[in-house]
Subunit: 283 residues, 2 copies
């Protein structure tokens, strides 16, 4: 089995399709990877150049007028490791080619608009890899669980999201949605670590424990959201996330496979190569 | 000699001070580092965690109301390696804590304003490391060399820059200005590589050779700009850049030393740690 076949496997193994059941996924499992932490970290390091080269090609195409882009949507319960994905996976490519946005609770201005308004404003431009740390899915997750919007309003949003993401895909942007799936026990360990270390206090938010009390309702909300919005245009991938090294490796491979699928090519020279060589040697 | 002393050394060795002469700096030299490429790369990798931890502290302070920030200004001739610094040095810290901006030729709207207008808009917010890939210095470099602004206008800008940077420093932002100093021969090699590889064509711009013809004038413009604007508040560091590994290591150490100087501290918990532990164990 070649490396690229293995990458393709990871996509199929993790994609949420027909009959998807979040409750049946083991958060400590490592689908598509035979090996432990040490091998996983080595595989992540080994994959960085490939991802980086594909990203460069995407960026290069856009300089020559290409309109392709990628949008990576990251969702997950608190402590699921979204920040680590950004740093260890996305961090290995040229920062100039990445637009990263962490969506917080909407501002007063944002609340005046449809929930997709602020999302559209942050969509990646041509050649870019856009990364959403949380996203429009909060409007069908926390809004559903905590009743921040009326139930019938939330109900309408699933279809609105599907239509929106179809438009994004049609404009040339590949949409890759990842749920980092952490277990309730693992979350407790990670929150405890923040309470046990003075250099982690700043990451701790008492509100995280409030949300934790709604764990089962959140799992249900994720199940529904993924079921209703995992499309061929914008599939959901559920990545077991109790092992950070695995989650990072899996997202790297998903991103790499997505870029590989895009049939990117290096732009032709729009100048006379030989003439330029002569000019260069003359000065 | 301890590691931190070595870091301090690098700052002193590279800072442009009294009697600064750009022409006397050997672009292939490696001030403050005894060792070759292999050791240099290992030292860069070894320094990433330290830089990353300091950046996290800076970010954490801002979450608790701190207003400190860092601005890294990168200047250098084409191919001097600014992109590589961004990727290999700044890329090792949490992307959420970095605001990166590449300044291109000003737009029509930008041209209607004072040259510092667009610069102010991109200054890093509290807790951020801002990275300027080119900057307001273009307004005294290419503008001087190619006469894009009247000479008396350019002349006034040096003082305006000093005043501006004093304000930035007074607001709590450390300003660190780096010139990546590449030799004319090395630039030729790097441009030739772009002409010899199909996957590098997109990085080649015939305009680079046009600018190369003004090499000596650019060196003079850099000499003048650095002489007039290297202040204690916003010092210039000239980093020999013919060896990419050295330039990256040097900028990492400059950035690390700057952050270390800022007396950052982890914020106190603004919640009752023991009470939160109890709450967490209950859900």
């Amino acid at each position: 089995m070649t490396k690229s076949e293995k990458t393709a496997d990871m996509r199929q193994l993790l994609m949420a399709g027909l009959g998807f059941s979040l409750a049946d996924i083991d958060q400590r499992s490592t689908p598509g990877f035979d090996g432990g932490k040490k091998k996983g970290k080595a595989a992540l390091a080994a994959g960085a150049d490939r991802l980086s080269s594909l990203q460069e090609k995407l960026f290069a195409e856009s300089r020559a007028g290409g309109e392709k882009a990628v949008l990576l949507v990251l969702q997950g319960m608190d402590t699921s490791g979204k920040g680590g994905i950004v740093r260890h996976v996305v961090g290995s490519v040229e920062p100039q080619g990445v637009s990263h946005h962490a969506f917080k609770a909407p501002t007063a201005q944002e609340q005046k608009h449809n929930f997709l308004w602020r999302i559209r404003r942050e969509l990646p431009g041509p050649g870019m890899i856009g990364v959403f740390d949380r996203s429009h899915y909060e409007d069908v997750l926390i809004h559903r669980v905590r009743g921040l919007s009326p139930a019938d309003e939330v109900e309408k949003r699933y279809d609105q999201i599907v239509t929106f993401e179809e438009e994004v895909a049609a404009s040339g942007t590949r949409v890759l949605k990842v749920m980092l799936h952490v277990s309730k026990d693992e979350q407790k360990e990670r929150l405890l670590e923040r309470l046990n270390r003075k250099d982690k206090y700043w990451k701790y938010n008492p509100g995280d424990v409030d949300e934790r009390a709604y764990w089962d309702q959140y799992q249900e909300a994720y199940q529904i959201a993924i079921e209703r919005t995992s499309t061929l245009d914008a599939p959901w991938f559920v990545v077991p996330a109790d092992r950070k090294w695995y989650a990072r490796l899996a997202v790297q491979r998903l991103l790499t496979a997505t870029l590989k699928d895009m049939d990117l090519s290096w732009p032709e020279a729009d100048f006379d190569v030989e003439a330029e060589k002569k000019r260069l040697h003359a000065v």
